[in-house]
């Protein structure tokens, strides 16, 4: 079941009567109407509350948004003769719905139906500097104002042209649905005005934006603009592109993580295989280019390669846990109070993969004097710089086209596929369509680093005196551009933060304990740069919040208080309290449950929003022991009730979808999905090894409530469903079983549920028995 708290976001009554601010935009010189706004344009953030933690005063999104400000570069809305408008979004669509929400923003200000607005993805635009990074759930937060301003400029120019055409004044005209009408009934369409409204020279114009009370598109649920293409198979991802000469290409990789090739012993034999055209040794392995990917697989499997060991050769999970333990800093001393008692817990979070369905892939055509690359890229400018550096070219010789991605979950912040494809294309002297095998993607692709998290709560007389939390992690790689943003913004960060490392800055800008818990400290220590890591959906928050909320539950139990009532009594933020109360009411918190089943409840505050999750879990033997072929049954989350307040909502239908997806991620993190490091490589090589949530794990009942908000500013949605879900599932599991887990996912140390695939050859052969398995 699905429910919206409101079909439409109620406007802010306080905003009425307030004089509207005007924004500067441009009509660019050209043959058709091109309206522009500075992408660095942002509404000043609303007044920040006084609070002790950096993330409350200034969070990751403020930094990302601020980093966009100095970039005086234009985004443009073009009106065409066919009455449509187009816009090239300098962000990447990976399923999060930003092409749809962007089309809605333009449709709103331009008074054009959403289906007449065509949003494409801009190629790398180096002049945008930091303003082409898709991450931190920041797209809508940072582009909400400039996109609307550009659309408003376009509408104003159309009205000016229509006034001449219809012989009336602009004030008398009404734009609606792509048509401008005069009081006498005469009208003219945007298509007819597209060239007439064009300007010979570039002009600056002042425009005002619609008041939220006038919204007729923003705040109403809208289906995705690319849904028809997706369900008919016409939506194209990187490997669907047909680029002249770009034949299928794969890479044979080392048996240990990040091992490198020494030599290929049977080059001739491989080159003689059916379909095989080219073979080249590159730094990441031995590449093969063939007529089909099937023949690439055959060739990779036939290769006899000598390898240099990778940097984690011989190491396993337990070695890394030991290393993290050694890196842990002592928690600071608890407050000095003779009556104080403490409660302490310690958790391990194993490696997890952000593998998307669409594996790391890229098309590259590298010539002597330049290169063109096509890939799903969330940081295309950094990709362009690094690829140019690798190829020995200047960035302007490298064209980087951004393709819609089949998922990301943080993975496409990096450009491993694009860099490798360019390297291979240069080595072979031919265009390539590179695709990673699923086994490569799981074993060598980036993932969420292993971490430990320690929580100590000090309390006396029923009151919390201190909440201390220390996160110790294998390094999270932020070298995709976030690092540069932090360096550039160092001077503007809250006091003292400019001296922190990149990871510590991100941590401090995202973590917040929304409880009134006295002295609060949250610290991050990172160690070990040998793994392929990166941000995975919601970066640190899922682990940190799961650990924190589990200990909050333990404290409530120790104080003989109800977990919900205890949270409610200790919250110091009204928006968080509202979502918590919403899920408790809608989810019937406290209802009687059979033994072996339980409810769990948790909250999270981030991305300018607040979320709460209530789950019900079934940990009874009959459920846990379900017989599932090549899969993990385990405890079943039977129901999820989620409430989300992200401020102004552009598309509640898309927001609900993001929460539903995040819920499945949270469940996976708690119960089933992890990578096992053993003898220098990860064992998982298939979706039946790496157990992301499947239909037999997903909750049969999910309710998402989008909270009404009086905020005029949107929040981030792409990651906001994960942390509270992970925490609520962890709490429910602990309550149902009476055991607080010491590690996640809870099945990580069980006997493996699969037989690991060999590492030599590094990828499995496709089966041939498919005709026996039809249904």
């Amino acid at each position: 079941m699905t429910a919206y708290a409101h079909d439409r976001i109620e406007p802010d009554p306080a905003a009425r009567g307030v004089r509207r601010r005007s924004f500067l935009g441009y009509v660019l010189g050209g043959a058709t109407l091109v309206a522009a706004a500075d992408l660095g344009l942002v509404d000043p953030a609303s007044a920040a509350p006084t609070a002790p933690q950096p993330a409350e005063l200034y969070d990751l999104n403020d930094m990302l948004t601020d980093s966009c400000r100095p970039t005086a570069n234009l985004i443009t809305v073009t009106v065409h003769k066919d009455g449509t408008a187009s816009f090239a979004l300098p962000r990447m669509e990976v399923g999060q719905g930003i092409t749809t929400s962007t089309a809605m923003l333009i449709a709103e200000e331009l008074e054009l139906p959403v289906h007449k607005v065509h949003v494409t993805l801009a190629p790398a635009r180096p002049e945008l500097v930091f303003n082409q990074l898709t991450g931190g759930s920041n797209t809508t937060i940072s582009t909400y104002t400039p996109i609307r301003v550009a659309a408003a400029v376009a509408k104003a120019a159309l009205l000016d042209a229509a006034a001449i055409e219809l012989g009336d004044t602009v004030d008398n005209l009404r734009a609606r649905g792509g048509v401008i009408q005069a009081p006498d009934g005469s009208s003219v369409t945007y298509g007819e005005l597209a060239t007439k409204a064009a300007s010979a020279t570039t002009k600056r114009v002042d425009v005002q934006l619609k008041d939220s009370t006038e919204f007729r598109v923003i705040g109403l649920g809208h289906n995705r603009v690319d849904a028809l293409e997706a369900v008919t198979g016409r939506k194209h991802y990187t490997t669907d592109l047909q680029v002249e000469g770009a034949l299928p290409t794969m890479v044979c990789r080392a048996p240990t993580l990040n091992g490198t090739p020494k030599r290929l012993r049977n080059r001739k034999e491989v080159l003689a295989m059916p379909g095989v055209r080219d073979v080249a040794i590159v730094d990441t392995g031995v590449a093969v280019r063939a007529e089909t990917f099937g023949q690439c697989i055959d060739a990779v499997r036939a290769m006899r390669v000598d390898w240099n060991d990778g940097p984690v050769v011989g190491q396993s999970d337990a070695d890394i846990v030991k290393e993290l333990r050694a890196a842990e800093d002592a928690l600071p001393a608890p407050p000095d109070n003779p009556l104080a008692e403490t409660i302490e817990h310690d958790f391990v979070f194993y490696f997890r993969s952000n593998s998307a369905m669409d594996t790391n892939s890229a098309v590259a055509d590298v010539r002597k004097d330049g290169a063109t690359v096509w890939a799903g890229l969330k940081s295309p400018i950094t990709a362009q710089e690094r690829i140019a550096e690798k190829l020995g070219m200047t960035p302007d010789q490298v064209t980087v086209n951004v393709v819609q991605g089949g998922g990301s979950f943080g993975r496409r912040l990096f450009f491993d596929g694009a860099l490798e494809a360019a390297t291979v294309s240069q080595a072979m002297g031919k265009p390539v369509k590179l695709m990673w095998h699923r086994a490569d993607d799981a074993r060598v692709g980036r993932g969420h680093p292993m971490a430990t998290n320690r929580v100590r709560i000090t309390h006396a007389g029923g009151e919390v005196l201190a909440f201390q939390q220390a996160h110790t992690s294998v390094e999270t790689d932020f070298r995709h551009g976030l690092g540069e943003i932090i360096s550039a913004m160092a001077a503007d960060l809250p006091a003292g933060m400019g001296n922190l490392g990149y990871a510590e800055t991100i941590f401090a800008l995202t973590q917040e304990v929304p409880y009134d818990f006295g002295l609060v400290s949250q610290t991050l220590t990172e160690t070990d740069e040998r793994f392929n890591t990166g941000s995975m959906r919601n970066i640190y928050s899922p682990d940190v919040r799961a650990a924190g909320e589990l200990v909050v539950d333990q404290l409530a139990a120790k104080l003989k208080q109800d977990p919900y009532e205890f949270r409610r009594a200790n919250l110091r933020n009204d928006r968080v309290r509202a979502v918590l109360e919403k899920v408790a009411t809608e989810g019937h918190w406290g209802r009687t449950m059979p033994k072996g089943t339980a409810q769990g409840i948790a909250i999270h505050k981030e991305y300018k929003g607040a979320s709460a999750c209530l789950v019900e879990i079934d940990c009874r033997p009959g459920t846990v022991g379900r017989d599932i072929r090549d899969g993990v049954g385990g405890p079943r989350v039977t129901k999820v009730v989620y409430a989300i307040d992200i401020g102004l909502v552009v598309n509640p239908r898309g927001l609900e979808a993001q929460m539903q997806g995040g819920i499945n991620d949270g469940i996976a993190l708690a119960l089933t999905s992890s990578l096992h490091l053993r003898d220098g490589h990860f064992l998982e090589a298939s979706w039946d090894n790496y157990f992301y949530t499947r239909q037999w794990n997903t909750p049969p009942e999910v309710q998402v409530f989008v909270m009404p908000s009086d905020s005029g500013q949107p929040g981030g949605a792409g990651e906001a469903g994960v942390a509270a879900t992970f925490a609520a599932v962890a709490c429910a599991y602990a309550r149902a079983t009476g055991t607080v887990p010491a590690y996640f996912p809870i099945n990580h140390r069980d006997p493996l549920e699969f037989t690991p695939k060999p590492v030599v050859p590094p990828i499995p052969q496709s089966p041939t028995n498919g005709l026996k398995l039809t249904y």
Binding site: V94, G95, N223, R224, D226, A227, A230, V231, T232, G233, R234, T239, D240, Q242, P248, P274, E291, T292, F293, G294, Q295, I297, S355, M357, D358, T359, G405, G406, G407, S408, H437, R438, D630, R653, A657, Q660, G661, G662, I663, N664, D665, S686, W687, D688, T693, R694, Q695, T698, P699, P700, P764, S766, P767, T768, N769, G770, L771, L773, T774, Y775
Partner: protein, 158 residues
């Protein structure tokens, strides 16, 4: 090189390729039919799910040489023609429920759903929760909730 002949989306086609190349690569790399997606190549993720003679199959796991000239392969591109409409009711259900996020797995999900409805009908029953739990197609965006809703709707309208 051997000539391979089979019926693809209603038309007989012939392609020059070795027997043991899997049908998925024949479709995607040689014929440019890209609706069936690669997600694993070992019949696990089910992103390439298509139909053979009306039943679900995974072209990543069938040698093209094992297809007979009268075998009818239907991919997502050919699904609407099987009902003589612009969209199959299951595709319409997917649109109505706004199921897709990144969309990559959805052609396979839809083809699996259609086959599931046909299967339970052959068995003289309708889709149960257990049938939905048993669907193996992965969606990494986690659209499972809306997939379940859409299958129920598509079943009613098929």
């Amino acid at each position: 090189m051997p000539k391979q002949t089979f019926i693809l989306n209603g038309k007989s086609i012939t392609v020059d390729v070795h027997d043991d190349v899997r049908v998925l690569w024949v479709l995607r790399d040689l014929l440019g039919v890209t609706g069936p997606k690669y997600g694993c190549g070992i019949n696990v993720c089910k992103a390439c799910t298509s139909h053979i003679n009306g039943r679900a199959f995974n072209p990543c796991s069938v040698r093209v040489g094992d297809l007979a000239p009268d075998d009818e392969v239907t991919t997502i591109e050919g699904l609407p023609d099987t009902v003589g409409r612009a969209l199959h009711p299951m595709q319409q259900a997917w649109l109505d429920r706004d199921v897709a996020q990144c969309g990559y797995c959805q052609p396979g999900q839809i083809m699996a759903a259609v086959a599931l409805v046909r299967k339970v009908r052959r068995e003289g029953r309708s889709i149960t929760e257990a049938d939905l739990d048993g669907i193996r197609n992965i969606c990494r965006c986690g659209t499972y909730t809306r997939i379940r809703e859409a299958i129920r709707q598509g079943e009613r309208q098929m």
